[in-house]
Amino acid sequence: MKKRILSIALACAMIVASFAGCGGGTTTSTDAGSAAGSDASQAATETKKIRVAWWGNQVRNDRTTKVLKMYEEKNPGVKFETEFSDWSGYWDKMATEAAANSMPDIIQMDYQYIKQYVNKKQLADLTPYVGKQLKLDDVSQFSVDVGKFNDKLYGVSLGVTSPAMIYDIDSVQQAGVTLKNGMTMSEFIDAAKKIKEKTGKTCDFVYSDGETMMEYLVRGQGKVLFQDGKLGIDSSKDVLPFFQLFEDGVKGGYLTSAEDLDASVGTGIEQGLLVLGKQWEVMTTSNQLSAYAAAAKDKKLGIVTWPVGDNDTQKAMFLKPSMYFSVSAASKNVEECAKVIDFFTNNAEAYETLLTDRGVPVSNKVQEAIKPKVDESSKQLFDYISAIESECSDTNPPPPAGMTEVATLAHNLTEQVVYQKLTAQQAADQFFTQANAILKKAAG
């Protein structure tokens, strides 16, 4: 009989033990004795545990971690927990964590997604901290405004970026062509043909994320691709030029092969086609330059704008926040988070480590302070952004719900054009009907 009671007791102990791992508080106490006896009366200080999440590449991962360490050293009592992943995995994870009400305290946000998260009340309003913990006096009006929704501040831009084509200077010189900011698409294609002929290297028009190029070309026509519940264009005619780029590229042989394009989707910059030497250019955003420079050490890289449509009526280029830091509405340490974001905004020392991986720093003071100290690729980026500012028009409003599905649709259709299963016209027609349907459903 004693044995049975004992066994029940053991079983209970086991249950308790197995569930002990599930809990876990957000604050723990540490011994303050080590903090050189200034406040000896206080036995313990609260440790603030702050979770920070971002997407990106290895370069960003290393630099951000280093800067967070710097902050920890300056602010004893703050302890960071970091979550890092690639772009697509990141958003799957954020959505799940948001649903479970367990989002990290500080979240790297993107222009595409911020509106959704604001509308769903997942982000904390930072307005009360502005001017106190979070100083934005040196930040350009543009960079402050892009974080505001309904007059409240939901995100602080971490850098300015814009569409940019990063290219291998040697291949371009070998073919004897020159590239310049604001060149037209037909000028670009002529150059691409020559480069293919001379070097065998090919080009791409953002195959993996075609929606960005499509939106860019539509902008050149003075239209906005995404509106709430529908496309902002009247017919498939406006997206035809986008699919035409791929159809012509396959026929002309200057587009990277379908097989290589497919293999490159989802791989990082380090395994990308430019770094591997299969492609002579990549159309991306300007802040990626430093990551490309780090990954392709054997190459000299240049940077120019994306080519613009031949008959553009409006400046298609634009500046946008490369990414934000936002704070979760569920965070218990919003004030401390605001301080961390301030560190990432105004601390020149931090930027000596961060450099321009997230684009050109938003604070003018930081820009001035680090300009003499930055590496070659960051210098290139500074020059690029100041050179194109006049080429830009206002950025599009953040896209509505359903955008991810539309982007996938655009990619699937591009894939079919590249595999020559669809003509550009068919793809454009299908895109127009299906994208409208998706947006309508998502808004409803």
Partner: protein, 297 residues
């Protein structure tokens, strides 16, 4: 019966011991299953509260989603081809390894290895490299004089086969079950057959196979269920490419749930798959009376 007596019963101790499992099973399996059933009748974008929309998700799926049908077709093809192939392969290896020899233990361990690793992300990444156009498979083919430049993963007719081969390669667990099945067949049957003059082939089809049918049946059911639930291979290696020719049902479900923020639709898809697998298993059980031979009957 007093409380003390109740507590003292042997079954009480037993229940308490399995309580951790039961709680876990309820919290992480049963409750989510029913929750997903409820969600399948809603439009739920994960970030805001679900909205009840009746059977709209199911209607949309069957009438207005060509990708749903495409992924269903791919999954059926994958499961119905890879599972029989894997079982045949497992049986072959088991037949070879069943012969007693000094090293058979080592061989069994080695052949079981792929089963343990095969479902992992690491192996999936490895597979992707193997079948790349500049990967090991093409290099090997060139080495033996076949000039091969096929892009296995970018060709609609070969891409699915790289996944099927990966599945067949993970034959270990079926093999072990076959091994134990083979050992249970009484040697006297074979002795009698040899005396009667039956050849090896005849013995295989008249003794081995019929005696193994319960094991085959078990393996078939288990592997088929696994086949329909395959996810990692597609997600890591092909992402459904090219042209959705390798888009597994589970991956499309994942895309809907987590990437397109249509959790309700994803849940509905999960339930359709559950019904299909249940139906298939039911049919297998029904037909089993006709081909599975139980010695005890």
């Amino acid at each position: 019966m007093t409380i003390k007596q109740k507590l003292n019963r042997e079954s009480t101790a037993g229940y308490v011991f399995i309580l951790p499992f039961i709680i876990g099973f309820l919290a992480f399996t049963i409750i989510p299953i029913f929750f997903s059933f409820a969600l399948s009748f809603t439009s739920y974008d994960v970030l805001s509260a679900p909205k009840f929309i009746g059977i709209d998700n199911y209607v949309q799926m069957f009438t207005n989603d060509s990708k749903f049908w495409k992924s269903m077709g791919v999954t059926f093809y994958y499961a119905l081809v890879s599972v029989p192939l894997r079982l045949i392969f497992a049986l072959l290896v088991a037949m070879i390894l069943v012969r007693p020899s000094k090293a058979s233990g080592v061989y069994r361990a080695i052949y079981y290895l792929p089963s343990i690793m095969g479902g992992s992300v690491a192996v999936a990444v490895l597979w992707k490299r193997l079948f790349a156009s500049d990967g090991a498979i093409n290099a090997l083919l060139q080495l033996v004089g076949i000039p091969c430049k096929i892009a296995w993963l970018s060709n609609t007719s070969t891409a699915i086969w790289t996944l099927i081969i990966l599945a067949v390669w993970q034959f270990g667990s079926s093999m072990l079950i076959f091994l134990s099945g083979l050992k249970q067949i009484p040697v006297t049957y074979y002795e009698a057959a040899t005396i009667d003059g039956a050849g090896k082939m005849k013995q295989f089809f008249s003794i081995t196979l019929p005696m193994l049918t319960p094991v085959i049946f078990f393996n078939l059911v288990m592997q088929l269920i696994n086949g329909f639930m395959a996810f990692t291979q597609c997600y890591i290696i092909t992402q459904g490419k090219p042209l959705d020719s390798t888009l597994f049902y589970t991956v499309y479900m994942y895309q809907n749930s987590f990437q397109f923020n249509q959790m309700g639709y994803g849940c509905a898809m999960a339930w359709v798959m559950l019904l299909i697998v249940a139906l298939l298993t039911g049919v297998l059980f029904k037909t089993s009376n006709n081909w599975v031979y139980y010695a005890s009957k």
